[in-house]
């Protein structure tokens, strides 16, 4: 798999996939997509980068360990539920703030925060699995 073409294309491809994954995450509430699918795309991007450029490179690019990202995802997912308590609603009730910026509707909401949590968890967990499998392969 370590062909020159693959190694040259992979970083750009990985970057595109991760950007695309965020796009999929954000559009998810109204169009096909969402945190889960976005997370899988993002994790695939990281896996490709790891295979092509080596796990050390991928880990360096990530800065934090992917499992931390996963934990962070669960944390903000749970946290987004507590906003509802301030509005005297049950845990995890969706709250919406809708702005109109120059004719475009910008919707900020607790389900969005929750979905970002899902995204982070999926990216983190799957990347953890993929990278550590690739990692030990190199060690041997």
């Amino acid at each position: 798999m370590n062909t020159v073409i693959f190694r040259t294309v992979a970083p750009g491809l990985a970057a595109l996939m991760i950007m695309f994954s965020i796009y999929v995450l954000l559009r998810g509430h109204n169009e096909p997509g969402g945190g889960f699918i976005g997370g899988l795309i993002g994790a695939s991007g990281l896996a490709i980068y790891g295979i092509a450029c080596g796990v050390q490179e991928a880990r360096k690019a990530l800065v934090i360990h992917p499992i931390v990202l996963a934990g962070f995802g669960v944390f903000i997912g749970a946290l987004s539920g507590f906003f509802a308590l301030f509005a005297q609603e049950p845990f995890l009730t969706g709250l919406w703030l809708i702005f109109h910026v120059e004719g475009t509707e910008v919707a900020l909401s607790t389900p969005l925060i929750f979905d970002i949590g899902v995204y982070a968890t999926v990216v983190g967990s799957v990347a953890t699995i993929a990278l550590s499998l690739e990692d030990s392969e190199e060690e041997d």
């Binding site: 096909p32 695939s44 997912g77 929750f114």
Partner: protein, 786 residues
């Protein structure tokens, strides 16, 4: 009753938790003064509770409720009546002095701030427990006291004995908590009431219910574990590993009384029956005698006090079991007297330990001049403990003897048990109050010195209160006994306890007998201790050893079960899973005889046929593939073909997920394959291939049948319509799949992402663990052959 006063009840239970949050900072910035500053919290709660005396003694019940899980009838609700008020005042009042005492006792300890946090959290849990109205609120606080007690017993976590004692206490009281939960749920099902006020209003309903005896045993099990009744008593003496303020507060004055509180509370709901009477009196009596006898056997001050606490708890349970008006009043009086003198005694033991460096009674003597204030406090406490006139303990003992001299044959037996138990505890009290202070001064590790103001203020105030309280019988009758008796008895009580010494009455003879027997036991303490030690050694088995054996057995059982189920043969795991899957798919169809009808041959377009063909080709390739890698990729082809089918039938989210999952599966499977050093080829005997083929075909056909059955039932579209109607206008999302995930069923998703994270964590740990042995490929194989 204004709403502000009602809300203050909830505040009482919450305030200590808030204080606990800030305790480490307060300790950090105020240093030695932290104990005095933090004591303001329990003190203000005490003063606030004093304000409830007037409405409560007028037989008003104050209730406050916040909704919690309304759909299950679970409320965060509190109420104050006579019984809760007595407990609340004891907890906050003694708690004030305990916090002050901890400030001096643990001065200089590196985790002093943390200790304040724990003890305040405990106080909040205990207050919440006695003030709770909803039975589930009660249960939550009940468990919180177990958890905070665990943290406090194991406070010196670097010592193995402390860790063991902490775990033991948690296992026993936490296990009891589960029994209690089961009992409470059963009670709520039996009576339809979720609150104590509701249960009290329907008193008598549970006793005549068919499941009464089960509910009774469960609730009693919970109470006995908490209040250390025989045979669950062994954790309490071990809990003395905790710092002394904890022993004084949790393991004598408050937490261990939670079981007594529960039994007193449940008296109208579960009491008044033969099983209630016999279980409580029998186990209470045994605990009383056992505690008293074992106390005399000890030489460590704290151990002696711990065993007398056992005895006292047994005595309270016995009195509640007897359940006559006099017995209940005696129990209330004894409860208050015991909390005061035992709290003081424990702090005195701690002060002696702090001042001399030892708690061994045989190594102590002649401290009367070195520690005069502590000596006076000890003398005052023992007056109440031994039940000498004018002390609160005297009133308590007279009342309980009065209860036992009213006729009926079991009463005489109980009277004998009470006299023996009380005299044993009196002898131990005298030993602790006199032995270290009288006689010649003995050499101790530290040069003996009196404690600071924070160390002796608690013992002095509590012991003085315990003695002079006997002078205020009028006030006690009206403000303590009547309202508390009314809560336990569930009807108005007219208490007429008075301070007197009517020599003609049998209760006075019983008191005199107790003093004589107690005096003799004190005089012959050395001989009695020797005899009891020899008896103990002859038996050679304790419940503590039994606990260890049980825990060890449990670990061995778990080990055996794990070895049986988790044998490490991946092939067998998969086989068992698919066989069980096939069985679960077929059995319901066989039992109900409802196989789906085979549908007509479908009419498909050519591109739909094409997608199907791809799937079939992929599957065929898996079967004929020469190497594993090809098989994995071929499986991926089949998955993509399925995704295309989804695409044709308009499920965009599903396609996308399917595509991504297939891609990642291929990548991860290939990586795993190289990681595990699997052979390139998959050699399988024909017989094995046949077996595996049959199992997979069976499971797959089962799935097909289930899917066909689903299609042939009328789909309930209620939810679908709800989602369609509300998704865009209410949940602001046109993608229903996503709205379901992040909004309608967000709690499910939260659970799922937690599982995803845990799986990632587990796999990471597995790969890291295997990183080393994998270099020696012989190891796993050797294990497999073994």
């Amino acid at each position: 009753m204004g709403p502000s006063l009602d809300f203050s009840i909830a505040l009482i239970a919450i305030a200590p938790f808030v204080a606990a949050l800030f305790a480490p900072w307060i300790k950090h910035f105020t240093g030695q003064l932290a104990g005095w500053i933090l004591a303001i919290v329990p003190l203000s709660i005490f003063i606030m509770l004093l304000g409830f005396i007037e409405p409560v003694s007028g037989n008003n019940v104050v209730v406050a409720a916040l909704p919690w899980i309304p759909s299950y009838g679970i409320e965060f609700s509190f109420f104050v009546d006579g019984l809760s008020l007595v407990f609340g005042l004891l907890i906050s009042g003694i708690g004030t002095f305990i916090v002050i005492y901890s400030g001096g006792y643990l001065a200089g300890h590196p985790h002093h701030g943390r200790f304040f946090s724990y003890i305040l959290m405990f106080m909040g849990s205990m207050l919440g427990l006695v003030l709770a109205d909803n039975i589930f609120t009660l249960f939550v606080f009940w468990e919180l006291t177990s958890i905070t007690s665990f943290l406090l017993i194991g406070f010196d976590h670097s010592r193995q004995a402390a860790r063991r004692a902490a775990i033991q206490a948690l296992v026993v009281t936490g296990g009891g908590g589960l029994l209690l939960l089961a009992g409470l749920i059963l009670l709520s099902t039996m009576t339809g009431q979720n609150s104590l006020t509701g249960l009290l209003a329907t008193a008598g309903l549970a006793q005549s219910h068919g499941a009464y005896i089960i509910a009774l045993l469960l609730v009693i099990g919970g109470a006995f574990a908490k209040s250390a009744q025989f045979p669950l008593h062994f954790w309490l003496p071990n809990a003395m590993e905790a710092p002394t303020p904890v022993s004084a507060f949790l393991h004598s004055a408050t937490m261990v009384k939670a079981g007594v509180y529960l039994l007193a509370r449940m008296n109208p709901v579960l009491g008044g029956t033969e099983p209630w009477f016999w279980i409580l009196t029998l186990f209470g009596g045994v605990t009383l005698l056992l505690g008293g006898a074992l106390a005399i056997r000890q030489t460590d001050l704290k151990q002696m006090l711990a065993y007398t606490t056992l005895g006292s708890l047994g005595l309270l349970v016995l009195l509640i079991g007897v359940g006559t008006k006099e017995a209940i009043l005696g129990a209330i009086l004894y409860l208050c007297a015991h909390s005061l003198f035992k709290g003081a005694m424990f702090m005195i033991a701690g002060t002696i330990d702090h001042g001399t460096g030892t708690r061994d009674i045989t190594a102590l003597g002649g401290l009367r001049e070195k520690m005069p204030i502590t000596f006076i406090a000890a003398l005052l406490s023992v007056i109440s403990m031994a039940g000498f006139p004018i002390a609160l303990g005297f009133l308590a003992k007279e009342e309980m003897y009065l209860a036992m001299t009213m006729g009926l044959w079991p009463d005489l037996l109980f009277l004998a048990v009470l006299i023996v138990g009380n005299s044993l505890m009196m002898a131990v009290g005298l030993l602790i109050a006199l032995k270290p202070f009288l006689g010649a001064l003995k050499p101790t590790p530290y040069k003996p010195h009196e404690g600071s103001l924070s160390l002796y203020s608690g013992p002095v105030v509590l012991s003085v209160l315990g003695v002079i309280a006997g002078l205020f019988t009028g006030w006690i009758n009206a403000n303590v006994l009547n309202p508390t008796g009314a809560s336990i008895y569930n009807q108005a009580v007219d208490a007429s306890v008075y301070l007197g010494f009517p020599i003609t009455e049998p209760k006075v003879w019983a008191s005199i007998a107790t003093w004589i027997l107690g005096g003799v036991l004190f005089w012959k303490a050395e001989a009695v201790r020797g005899a009891l030690r020899r008896a103990g050694n002859a038996i050679g088995w304790t419940f503590d050893i039994g606990f260890d054996a049980t825990m060890f057995g449990l670990v061995r059982l778990a080990d055996g079960v794990t070895r049986f189920l988790h044998h490490g043969k991946l092939e067998w795991y998969t086989l068992v899973m698919f066989v069980v899957l096939a069985l679960t798919l077929y059995l319901p169809m066989l039992i109900t005889g409802t196989a789906p009808s085979i549908p007509d041959f479908p009419i498909l377009t050519f591109y739909e046929w094409g997608a199907l063909l791809f799937a079939v080709i992929g599957l065929a390739a898996v079967l004929v593939a020469k190497t594993r890698l090809v098989a994995i990729v071929a499986l991926g082809i089949q998955g993509f073909a399925v995704a295309v089918i989804f695409l044709l039938f308009g499920a965009p989210d599903l396609i996308w997920t399917q595509f991504m999952v297939e891609t990642l599966s291929v990548v991860i499977l290939a990586l795993v394959m190289t990681r595990l050093h699997l052979d390139q080829r998959d050699h399988r005997e024909p017989a094995l291939a046949l077996r595996d083929g049959v199992v997979s075909l069976a499971a797959a056909t089962g799935f097909a049948f289930v899917l066909l059955s689903v299609l042939q039932t009328d789909l309930d579209l209620t939810l679908t319509r709800l989602f369609e109607a509300t998704s865009a206008p209410v949940a602001h999302g046109r993608n229903i799949v996503n709205v379901i995930l992040v909004d309608y069923r967000a709690v499910d998703t939260l659970g799922e992402i937690s599982v995803v994270m845990a799986a990632g964590l587990a796999i990471l740990a597995l790969i890291r663990l295997r990183a080393k042995p994998a270099r020696k490929p012989s190891t796993p194989r050797a294990r497999r052959n073994a």
